[in-house]
Symmetry: C2
């Protein structure tokens, strides 16, 4: 069965010519031959839509018909696959649905779109027998969707934990390496272009929550449910907490965590102390990594650049090659959008954060009086919270209060809430107790 070299080039329509769009044009052009040697046929962008045709792009648009109307690209009967790189959930959603309705396959890098409207989009795509591929939506160029969805297909996945926002990780890495403050590093990240002018999506964990929503769905076979993710940002992490964590042998990372528990799934994004010897604790700067624990394989980790024009383009092109191969394949034999067959998704409840079980790092200021630590440890004991480590420093010269740092064993979050309330009510402690969750990730 010799392969025939007569296959026509696959024709791609591109929506959006921003940073990532230009990256896709560059990569498909530069590596055109290498890609065809793999895919067995060329993959060419023949038409692209952009809002403003007059802007100069960071790529060669030769051979690509340009338009400012996205629907013209979608409606072009020549186009086999539509690549959506508009972003957001407005026009992007409309255009993806339009493409599906015209039985076009779609490749997208749009995490918000998938996290918020994926259930609807995939149902519609299945009805039409087309694929919507979204490797670039999580972890940029890291093939973590493919790994979880295909490579771990023999496993029951127990949990996953990911550094899935490069901006947040850059800020936390700088705070630790250089002893800098959050605000100071954020400004630098903004001037370097790592952080947006409005950094809310990144530093408040919304971007990470989009990605965690997607990862959890393909890991556990549950529908996408962004609104159930507990989300806490890194804006209140102080230089002191970073330093205390280091002294105790931990690093603080902004993690997205999804864990299968007996009665449901934990879905949470928050700053997390992790032992400094874990590989994922050593993922620094804008890099991303996802650690997955599964029953047969044990731990596997996937690391790489989580954003950027060409890393994201790398994932988009990989999807294009996969979709190209699947063009003539019976839809029932394709990899399901959410890893599990649509009729095999299970609606396991997502647990309230109060039901989560984790260890904690507590940092509080207490009056420099005898018996204060005893009061605190008694309250923790009353709530069945075991103490794993304590760090108490003598008060600084002339100060009337001192810092106490406590690391606890894992406990139900609602127990910890109650204990913290009681500690904050003590006359000898300051009103605010800093609480950062801690995971061993073993």
């Amino acid at each position: 069965m010799e392969r025939e070299r007569t296959l026509e080039a696959v024709k791609i329509g591109l929506l959006g010519l921003g940073t990532v769009g230009s990256g896709v044009v560059r990569v498909l052009s530069r590596n055109n031959e290498e890609i065809a040697r793999r895919a067995g046929r060329a993959i060419n962008i023949v038409r692209a839509a952009t809002r403003d045709l007059s802007v100069r792009r960071d790529c060669d648009l030769g051979g690509i018909a340009l338009t400012d109307r996205a629907q013209d690209v979608i409606d072009d009967p020549e186009i086999d696959i539509v690549v959506e790189l508009i972003g957001g959930t407005g026009i992007a959603r409309e255009m993806v649905i339009r493409a599906i309705d015209q039985s076009k396959h779609v490749v997208t890098a749009n995490k918000a779109l998938i996290a918020l409207h994926g259930n609807e989009i995939f149902a519609r795509a299945s009805e039409r027998g087309v694929t919507v591929a979204f490797e670039a939506a999580v972890g940029g160029g890291i093939p973590v969707i493919k790994a979880i969805r295909e490579a771990l297909a023999g496993n029951r996945i127990e949990w996953l934990a990911g550094i899935i926002n490069g901006t947040g990780n850059f800020i936390l890495s700088e705070m630790r390496d250089k002893g800098r403050d959050f605000e100071d590093v954020l400004s630098e990240a903004q001037s370097l272009g790592y952080a947006e002018a409005d950094p809310t999506f990144d530093v408040e964990g919304i971007d990470a929550a989009h990605k965690l929503t997607i990862l959890a769905s393909i890991a556990f076979g549950i529908p996408l449910q962004f609104d159930k993710v507990y989300t806490e940002g890194i804006t209140r992490i102080t230089r002191e907490d970073v330093q205390y964590a280091a002294e105790l042998g931990y690093r603080i990372k902004h993690l997205g965590i999804a864990r299968r528990r007996e009665h449901g799934i934990e879905l949470r994004v928050h700053p997390t102390l992790i032992p400094h010897r874990r590989l994922i604790a050593n993922v620094d700067g804008v890099m991303n990594a996802v650690l997955v624990r599964a029953d047969a394989v044990g731990p596997t980790l996937y690391y790489g650049p989580g954003a950027g024009a060409e890393p994201t383009a790398s994932a988009v092109v990989a999807d294009l090659v996969d979709v190209t191969r699947a063009l003539t394949v019976d839809p029932n034999n394709r990899v399901p959008h959410l890893a599990f067959q649509p009729d095999a998704l299970i609606d396991v409840p997502v647990l309230d954060i109060g039901e989560a079980v984790t260890a904690y790092y507590l940092h509080l200021r207490v009056q420099d009086k005898p018996g204060v630590l005893a009061e605190i440890t008694r309250i923790l004991g009353d709530s069945s919270i075991s103490i794993e480590a304590v760090l108490q420093r003598p008060p600084e010269e002339d100060a009337s209060d001192a810092a106490i740092v406590i690391v606890t064993a894992p406990i139900r979050e609602s127990n910890m809430d109650e204990a913290i309330r009681r500690i904050q009510d003590l006359e000898t402690t300051s009103e605010h107790v800093t609480r950062i969750r801690l995971e061993n990730l073993k």
Copy 2:
């Protein structure tokens, strides 16, 4: 297009019921429902062959017809896919070819078989329109074959470097962490079952060379050519070298390295100093990791357990799911065995080790006389070798010679060979200069 739930179970024939074979039986049985929810149909082992039917296995063989004749499994017309877990290149090769000739798909974990006979096997499989899948052959449960072959399809791969032998990495990790000697750790590894009674394959790098052969082929689109791999083991690494490397900010890892150069490909397995801040430098114990540098995505790393019953079974089952999906797919639309279409492989020459370019760590003993270092640095300068770091210690009490450690900039290996010959000829240096290659992996 609703999917029909009428698909019959896929029937698997298993050759070999050793550690990995039993693991595959356990995983397919334990996760049968989870796997079917993903694959859209059940995957069941219906027949298995083992040399000795009387041995008790570490799995439940209920529902599996046993035989001591592998050919009976292959010849069974009910069997869709044959899983080869016999190992070695004798009977295993015969049986894989027999299966292909009967148009059965094959899944194997056999790295020696693929590295040595893959070209022949894949050619035969292509003729017959069947797939031979081998994810488990490299990196155990880490989906590194899938990542390179599919997820990086948009990239031109520049180089890859892997810790792809768990035994070797365990030994080097212990030597560093506990300051122990090679022989001492090797004995322990043997008693723990991490190392074979005959550890040659692991510690001399042959196992790693098999795996590197496979990785290089799918990364660069070249035929498998095990006999061209330069292979050096870890048996001569001393505790002192591990410690000097640490003092200079490096760790010693046994790496398989494949690098694209202007006039060919470097393929080499050897102990390597790498900067301790690189993520891969922190992969310890029996764990494996492969770092890949590609033009669009940049660096990505894949980490996990490189061996063991269930990690390997995880990769075997992932292949089974992939092959199940591809059963009715036109062979031309399947992922090619070696990532590139068979008629698109390119016979780029593999470079002789003398043409490799790397940095070096040199460790030699010199007489405690004035001018010795000057003589050595002059020789290095004559060969255009730049020095990056020098460590010279005062001789120990009553000793007449002292240690000098030198780190060089990258240089052609043949230049270094010549310089080392001249240094060894000096009257003031001992006859043996230890040379360990050094890579920045940036």
